[in-house]
Amino acid sequence: APPSGTTGQGGAKVANDEPGEKVVIGFSAPAADHGWMAAITNAAKAEAARYSDVELRLVEGTNDVNLQISQVETFINDKVDAIVLLPFDGAALTPVALKAMKAGIPVINVDREFDSPFAARSTVLGDNYGMGVSAGTYICERLKGKADAVVAEIAGIDSLPLTQDRSKGFADALRECGLKVANRVAAEFTVESGEKAAANLLQAAPRLDAVWNHDDDQGVGVTAAVKNAGRSEFFLVGGAGSANVMREIKADNGLHKATVVYPSTQGADGIRLARLAVQGKSLGDLVEVEIPRQIELYAPVVTKDNVDRYLPAAFES
């Protein structure tokens, strides 16, 4: 379909959207085993569909780095024009990204950073550490003056470095105001695991003041667990920014008082950047001739006051 009059989520309609030479983009991401990751892929697909000059090669999402490497190898064999890669593990996918770059295929790195600056033409980075900081800072503000406040954290998949970054940011921010994480459990980014982890957590901590949950998809389960336990003495801060949670924040009728956005549109950004890179175009709002090397996304805190701005771009979990 030709680019429609409507604009992409949050984006402006610019001259860049005019059809150009045909671009074949290979896209690979981890397994869509949780809402945010599914939203990433869906948004990328939707973005690609907006351009008549983009052909998207979407491959099986996988958490096996070996398989993901071979997918990128397939892209190289196929001589696609650009690769958008959300690696399961940034460091592990670096060699094959380097190989792609050497083969003259620009790689757009999304979310989890490679460990070599030469491995990507451009990098769209979510700010995991910053996300923790945002959540921690918000909690500090709300709990101002409560020195004995009990703060808990429901992390995501604990073996992922990004979870470590988020937790570190969170702990650092809390330390600024003299608080610390009293209880920490880890879930798996899924509703069910959120429910399980929260159920146990609520037992471990008889009294709570604030809880930060890394992921709004698992947050559905967390909310259910809190309801099951009949607890309501604390407030919840979400993560990632799902539409559900934002609606709850807007209605102000639940435990969620805020959520920290971790944009699920990164993949879509990657698609756009890839297209621009191949077509030799630049970013509309920058003066530069080329697209930038790195874009670090902001992790804003969404509260009742500003929710209307973010709701349209939120992902449906």
Binding site: A32, D33, H34, G35, A38, N42, D158, S159, N183, R184, V185, A186, E188, T190, V191, E192, S193, G194, E195, K196, A197, A199, N200, L201, L202, Q203, A204, P206, D217, V220, G221, A224, A225, N228, A229, N244, E316, S317
Partner: protein
């Protein structure tokens, strides 16, 4: 003979049906003692006990079903995927629409029907297609999860059927409905396995399929029924999970296959078939659930939890075996 009368009585007891689970009981009690020692009142608290039971109930129902399949000489890797598919199907807008118009039981029946359907397919592939159970149910695992993703479009589907939530959120005499369901399924499973013709035949089909065939049992049909039964259990588990999380999702039931098989095997059911115990399975489920509860109460990091879990499993099984051996079973 007189001399060793006492140990022999002990041996008799240990070898008897309840006695065979002594090791498990001891392991569970030890675990609880550790819980009390490290977390005190936070562990030995009615709410906490109910939390443990609630957590145990979903995987517990699946494990009871798994006990039948494993006792009957099979295995099912697709249980988690079936739970996911059933939960998604039962919470599609269409199903919810029907439930809103008619009765929330529609949701329940949809989940059970989907579970049973998948079970029948598994059973037919194994019994009539003669595909190794491991492979047939692995295929079902892939297919059911994929289907669940397609149906849900990978979105978490939120339940909006009031009667449903009201019913499953209730308590009976202070016991949550979910726990009651688990208890009923366990009790029903015990009766079915130990007191009915069907149960006897399950042992025979698992223990010596050729002998079962020669005794006039339709081994293939029986196998299909076993997988269907497990499918229905997955359907029940899906309903419970929907109730607990108010959602259906293609990510539900992750790794249930490992958890359920582990509970069944640690409970004393033979993976090669022919021997199975419902009580053992219930203990197995409780041990695993209590373990993660104790870990969380103690704020242990997930990595330390994993290492400790491995060690504890080994110790529990060794303990169980020493006791069973003394019982001369």
């Amino acid at each position: 003979m007189v001399a060793d009368a006492a140990p022999r009585t002990a041996g008799r007891f240990l070898a008897s049906a309840p006695g065979r689970n002594t090791g498990l009981v001891v392991a569970l009690v030890l675990l609880c003692l550790v819980g009390v020692a490290t977390a005190g009142d936070r562990f030995a608290d009615l709410d906490n006990v109910l939390t443990i039971l609630r957590l145990a109930s979903v995987i517990g129902v699946v494990s009871i079903g798994m006990t039948f399949v494993v006792t009957g000489g099979g295995i099912d890797l697709s249980v988690g995927a079936i739970v996911a598919l059933a939960s998604v199907w039962a919470t599609t807008l269409a199903t919810q629409g029907m439930a809103a118009d008619t009765h929330w039981l529609v949701v329940v029946f949809t989940a059970l029907a989907v579970g049973a359907g998948c079970g029948v397919v598994n059973g037919v592939l194994v019994a009539y297609g003669r595909i190794v159970a491991f492979i047939a149910t692995l295929a079902m695992l892939a297919a059911a999860r994929g289907l669940a993703e397609i149906i849900s479009n990978r979105r978490t589907q939120i339940l909006n059927v009031p009667g449903f939530t009201a019913f499953f959120d209730a308590s009976v005499l202070g016991v949550p409905v979910l726990v009651v369901i688990f208890a009923l399924v366990a009790a029903g499973g015990w009766v079915l396995l130990n007191r009915t013709t069907f149960g006897r035949r399950t042992f025979a089909v698992g223990g010596n399929p050729e002998a079962a065939r020669l005794a006039g049992i339709d081994v293939r049909r029986h196998t299909v029924v076993l997988y269907t039964l497990l499918g229905v259990c997955c359907g029940i588990a899906a309903v419970m999970l929907i109730a607990r999380t108010t959602t259906g999702s293609s990510t539900h039931g992750a790794l249930y296959e490992l958890d359920a098989i582990a509970a069944v095997v640690i409970g004393g059911t033979l993976l090669s078939g022919g021997r199975g115990t419902i009580a053992g399975t219930v203990f197995g489920v409780l041990i695993f659930t209590t373990l993660s509860n104790v870990f969380t109460l103690n704020n242990l990091s997930t990595s330390a939890q994993a290492v400790a879990k491995g060690a504890i499993i080994v110790v529990a099984v060794l303990l169980q075996q020493r006791l069973a051996r003394r019982g001369g079973a």
